[in-house]
């Protein structure tokens, strides 16, 4: 079937099998491999992308369900003026080790701080509780999301 999905600002019209998962579509048809797969029960969040601004687990969405929507993957986080604050904060606060969970974590983080400019420790932990990380113990991920929030707030106060 024909699906038309805007991914990171560019339109992708493709003919897919109806059962194609969005994550496979993004990785295999479109060729963006920053979105990962870590489980088969919608438990890990490694496949998280933003669909019309909301985080979804792309292993549990069919490409067909995303027809007509705007999808942001990790490759789309960076803007014309450089890295998204969440990306630099993850590096600065050592929020990643192996980096496999990182794209999903950053997208959830970016969506959280877009809604909540000053999230508490508990609010961040709750927001990322659908995303597993086996390396970091989460502490620095939480810190990085809060750092990014603070930097966004600071730059919008400054402007």
């Amino acid at each position: 079937m024909e699906v038309n999905i805007t991914i990171n600002g560019s339109e992708h019209a493709s003919d897919v099998e109806p059962r194609t998962l969005l994550v496979d579509h993004i990785r295999r048809t479109v060729g963006l491999t920053g979105t990962h797969v870590g489980c088969d029960t919608t438990s890990c969040g490694a496949c998280t992308v933003l669909m019309d601004g909301t985080p979804v687990k792309a292993c549990t969405v069919l490409a067909a369900q995303a027809d007509g929507s705007e999808v942001t993957t990790v490759e789309g986080l960076k803007g014309a003026d450089g890295l998204h604050p969440i990306q630099s904060a993850f590096t600065d606060d050592h929020g990643l080790q192996c980096g496999f969970c990182t794209p999903g974590m950053m997208l959830v983080g970016a969506s959280l701080i877009a809604e909540n400019p000053d999230p508490s420790d508990d609010e961040v932990r709750w927001a990322i509780s659908g995303n597993l990380c086996r390396c970091t113990g989460y502490i620095n991920i939480v810190k990085a999301i809060q750092t990014a929030a603070a930097r966004v707030a600071e730059s919008s106060n400054g402007s």
């Binding site: 491999t33 961040v124 113990g137």
Partner: protein, 783 residues
């Protein structure tokens, strides 16, 4: 903490240099196994046994073969025709690649489909008919060793029972004597349950065998690419020069990616036969039910103690559940890993350990899950036992430890099992952690809370690890000595490339190993590229596990950098027209002793190495070192956990977790702390929730992330980290390794804390995972 000797721009040892690997990972430009997409790639899916124990009477793959897009269905019989139906394990056993006779555990590999598309390969699995004749499953090692139990390994010549191995160490006579002198014997029986490392990325392979040239390029989630190349050569009979293993970015390993799994062998054979690349990436369920489980030790420990709380001796009796094949990934001479360190941080003269391993109808594995070969089990047992002994003798668990610690002046210290600890200051570590947590006040609060009916518990673990395998006289895997290597080349512009035998899976080697070179030569860490994982482009090594990268590969890096420093000094002397012995090197500047204004930089020297040399010197600035460590290193730590237990539900919450680690010199404090936080989380996970268990039919309970619970950010406690820094005296930069310390040390601290909350009721043990219902039952039974 020792202050760095290099300025921040150079970023030598002691600087929290930002990680170089992050740049690609935060932009989704990592290159993980499943991201590799070669032209004409075929996809493999594996049919697995639904039964734990059954005879295979036949396999009908006709319908699967007929499916559009299916190229081949590989069975055990086909593999057998090529002599590949069985493969050797790392513990001297054999393991079925694809079952020919029987299936011996649920999830065992029975057949594989090769198709043009992964969806089609999976569809085809459902069309394969296997005629199974069910056999009674054996699901516990106790059952397995009973008289008359069905023989699981009936194919194994000379095997008449289900015993996988026996192992013994220590001095039985001396231990009996110590027990005869004791005022009391304290006993603890506990099970360290089966767990799974479950890195977020599962295992996988892309095998690309060129049938014309015979070149086999094998992309693999491998923690030990060089060792895997040699094993592939030995098992498959491929010429080793034609095998190139490429281990790309790895999404966590934790021991799971050390063994060679049947899927790797089948995919490689299929690529060889078909002449196209074959990709296989495990699903999470496959990962959890069939690859590298960890732990599963039933342990009985006894301590001989005096009424003053002095430990005189230790006796341990253990039974391990090996699953259907004995495939522990461990050095050849060790049957139960380095369990010897069960004597812990304590000074006593006698120990004796007896261990049996049994085959069961469960997945094989026995991998060292974030642990240096059974160290976790050993450390857990002694730390639980010492706390039990404190209760029995009637002294505080902290005091019990302080009375028995090996003292700083006793190092190097030979333990009752013959391991020689390199360095440490245990009393300072424990006292520092106690001060931080406010130990005395906490004990008072605990007593007050008890009076109000609230249950507070304070748990301590003071662990000592043995990592960095290992000296060639003792340590090998499949005959390959456990040395490791580093190759360093400085380019004419003063930039460098460092090539390693070890392989990161998230530990940050691309950053920290560059820092070691920066420390020695003064080349900025950011000017040093670190390459690893590709066997055609890196020197030989045994890989990254058992916290051996820094102790062995890091040592090789320091030594090779020093070799280049020596040559560089000669070049500098030539440039400065001074005597070799008058040249001093600090932070990349070579100067003449006594006249510091006469100097050249490492960058000047690098250029001269290719342009202007002293008479008779060979061009270039490059060398390689293979490092054979003189001893293991012995990191240690003092962990204190405070919990509150709800007496009505058994639910426990961590209130505080103070973790002091001493891993010797810290190369990059930020990365070290990251490793510790990750390790503490996995330790917490094992104590609280992670559990691979089975029902009586041998069905795996814990086959996905809905049943196998790993902690999210919500459950994970917050940690307060502390450090001391006693260097390893034999390591070139004094570092000991840290990746596994926290996973090794922390489970006992968490469990001890819960037990401490209910110890006054007489509770002495609750097996891990310490689930609320188990706590509640223990309280109920005691009161």
């Amino acid at each position: 903490m020792v202050a760095p000797t290099t300025p921040a721009e150079i970023g030598g040892i002691g600087h929290s240099v930002q990680r170089k690997e992050d740049a690609r990972l935060i932009e989704g430009q990592g290159n993980f196994l499943d991201d590799i997409d070669l032209p004409n790639t075929l996809h493999m899916a594996i049919l697995r046994s639904p039964l734990a124990h059954a005879r295979i009477n036949g396999i009908d793959s006709e319908a699967a073969m007929a499916l559009d897009g299916v190229l081949a269905v590989v069975t055990g019989d086909l593999m057998d025709q090529h002599g590949l139906a069985w493969m050797p394990t790392l513990s001297g056993d054999t393991q079925a690649v694809l079952a020919t006779d029987k299936v011996r555990y649920q999830g065992q590999e029975v057949a594989a489909v090769i198709a043009t598309d992964p969806y089609i390969a999976t569809d085809a699995l459902e069309l394969i008919e296997v005629d199974y004749e069910e056999l009674p499953p054996i699901t516990t090692p106790q059952q397995s060793l009973e008289e008359g139990a069905a023989l699981i390994r009936d194919e194994k010549e000379g095997q008449t029972d289900n015993l996988a191995y026996t192992w013994e160490t220590g001095d039985q006579g001396a231990t009996e004597e110590a027990f005869a002198q004791a005022d009391r014997v304290v006993t603890l029986e506990t099970h360290y349950p089966r767990s799974h490392p479950a890195p977020l990325e599962t295992c996988g392979i892309v095998a690309d065998v060129n049938s014309v040239t015979g070149q086999a390029t094998i992309y693999m989630t491998s923690q030990a690419p060089h060792a895997h190349r040699t094993l592939f050569a030995m098992v498959a009979g491929l010429p080793e020069q034609n095998i190139r293993i490429v281990s790309p970015d790895i999404g966590g390993g934790f021991g799971n990616k050390v063994p060679i799994y049947p899927g790797y062998v089948v995919a490689t054979a299929a690529s060889l036969l078909i002449g196209q690349p074959v990709k296989w990436v495990e699903s999470r369920t496959e990962n959890l039910i069939s690859t590298g489980f960890a732990r599963d030790y039933y342990m009985k420990g006894e301590l001989a103690v005096t009424d003053e709380g002095r430990i005189l001796g230790l006796r341990v009796d253990m039974l391990s559940d090996q699953g259907a094949f004995y495939s522990d990934a461990q050095p050849t001479q060790f049957r139960a890993g380095l369990f010897h360190v069960v004597t812990g941080s304590y000074d006593f003269g006698a120990a004796h350990i007896n261990c049996k391993g049994a085959f069961t109808n469960k997945a094989p594995g026995g991998v060292a899950y974030r642990c240096s070969f059974r160290i976790t089990e050993a450390s857990y047992l002694i730390e639980r036992l010492v706390q039990t002994a404190a209760y029995e003798v009637g002294i505080d668990p902290a005091e019990m430890r302080l009375r028995n610690f090996i003292q700083p002046e006793q190092f190097p210290y030979e333990t009752a099992t013959g391991f020689v600890y390199d360095s440490g200051d245990y009393p300072t570590a424990l006292r520092t952690a106690m001060d931080e947590v406010g130990y005395e006040d906490l004990r008072r609060e605990q007593a007050e809370a008890r009076a109000e009916g609230r249950l507070i518990g304070i748990g301590i673990a003071h662990f000592t690890e043995a990592v960095g395998a290992g000296p060639s006289r003792t340590y090998d895997i499949a005959g390959l000595k456990m040395i490791d290597s580093a190759e360093l080349r400085v380019h004419p512009t003063g930039k460098a490339i460092l090539k390693l035998g070890v392989k990161t899976q998230g530990q940050g080697h691309e950053t920290t190993f560059a820092q070691i070179v920066a420390e020695v030569l003064g080349i900025p860490a950011n000017d040093i590229k670190v390459e690893h994982g590709d066997t055609d482009h890196t020197p030989y090594g045994l890989g990254t596990y058992a916290s051996r990268s820094t102790p062995v590969g890091g040592a090789a890096t320091a030594v090779v950098a020093r070799k280049l420093a020596d040559k560089s000094k000669k070049i500098a002397a030539h440039l400065l027209e001074a005597a070799d012995e008058d040249i001093e090197l600090a932070s990349g500047v070579f100067s003449v002793a006594g006249s510091p204004d006469r100097s050249v930089t490492i960058q000047d020297v690098a250029l001269a190495a290719y342009t202007n040399l002293p008479e008779g010197m060979e061009y270039g600035l490059e060398d390689v070192t293979y490092y054979d460590p003189p001893n293991l290193t012995y990191p240690y730590g003092s962990y204190i956990v405070v919990v509150e237990v709800d007496p009505d539900t058994g639910v426990w919450q961590v209130q505080r977790m103070v973790a002091l680690d001493d891993c010797g010199v810290r190369i990059n404090p930020m990365i070290v702390e990251g490793q510790i936080c990750g390790g503490l989380t996995e330790g917490f996970a094992m104590s609280a929730m992670q559990w691979i268990t089975f029902d009586e039919d041998g069905n795996c309970i814990g086959a996905n992330f809905m049943d196998y619970l790993v902690p999210t950010a919500w459950e994970t406690p917050k940690f307060e980290l502390l450090a001391t820094e006693v260097p390893s005296p034999h390591h070139p930069i004094g570092a000991k390794g840290v990746g596994e310390s926290a996973t090794v040390g922390s489970p006992a601290a968490f469990v001890n804390a819960v037990i401490d909350a209910v110890a006054h009721l007489g509770v002495r043990n609750i097996d891990m995972p310490v689930l609320p219902d188990r706590v509640w039952a223990a309280i109920d039974e005691a009161s």
